[in-house]
């Protein structure tokens, strides 16, 4: 597994963690008296900031862990360079495209929920959910492309 694949795997798990947290919070809100605007928007902020922070920390930790493992394996102080080449860029771009399509579908579903009489808060909840799901789908598609090639 290459450095990029490991990075994407970490990103995938962090996104799964965030989506799990988000859905559990929504479920709790539903149990304790429905969706309240103030709570939903504070959850939005927590989730958005959470995604950013968890991704940054995840990337840093992956880099540190891989460097330590490399040093132990090779028993040298030589720091391994992680090259990002044209194939990585291409796979990244394809992942972005998949993410964009998935998010567009999510936005459409959110709009449709509003059009079919659901309260606006449901639409906002679906919007944030679709953005995280789009990231997860993007990570999965990138991992698939790394494995299968193209």
């Amino acid at each position: 597994m290459s450095y990029q694949e490991k990075n994407i795997t970490v990103s995938l798990f962090s996104h799964l963690l965030i989506v799990g947290y988000y859905l559990s919070q929504l479920f709790q809100m539903q149990q304790t008296g429905g969706l309240v605007a103030a709570k939903v928007f504070s959850l939005w902020a927590v989730v958005i900031v959470g995604v950013i922070i968890v991704n940054i920390i995840g990337n840093i930790l992956t880099h540190i862990m891989l460097s330590i493992v490399h040093a132990i394996k090779t028993r040298s102080e030589h720091v391994e360079k992680y090259v990002e080449d044209e194939r990585d860029h291409l796979i990244g771009l394809k992942g972005d495209r998949v993410s964009y399509i998935a998010f567009s579908i999510g936005v459409l579903i959110a709009m449709l929920s509003f059009a079919f009489g659901q309260p606006p808060l449901v639409m906002f909840c679906l919007l944030i959910l679709s953005s995280i799901l789009a990231e997860i789908i993007s990570d999965l598609s990138q991992l698939y492309l790394y494995r299968k090639g193209f």
Partner: protein, 75 residues
């Protein structure tokens, strides 16, 4: 319509070039070993620039490294 595919002789050229490893070739052309593995396995068609770099490493013309053939055709 016939389907064409980029094929390559990198494995043979590496062997003839002092049994160069994939890692060494990757370092010389500035990509990861995974990319060399993908190119050798026919899973990834490199950019023109990378193709020229690989040919330069072996000191052979581009068409000796890569060929564009009908899928399924073996030399």
């Amino acid at each position: 319509m016939d389907k064409y595919k980029v094929k390559n002789n990198i494995r043979r050229l590496r062997f003839n070039y002092d049994e160069m490893t994939q890692e060494q070739l990757a370092e010389k052309v500035g990509v990861t070993r995974q990319t060399i593995i993908a190119i050798e396995g026919g899973k990834y068609a490199p950019s023109l620039e990378l193709a020229f770099k690989i040919a330069l490493v072996f000191g052979v013309p581009l068409q000796e490294v890569f060929s564009y053939e009908l899928e399924g055709d073996e030399k």
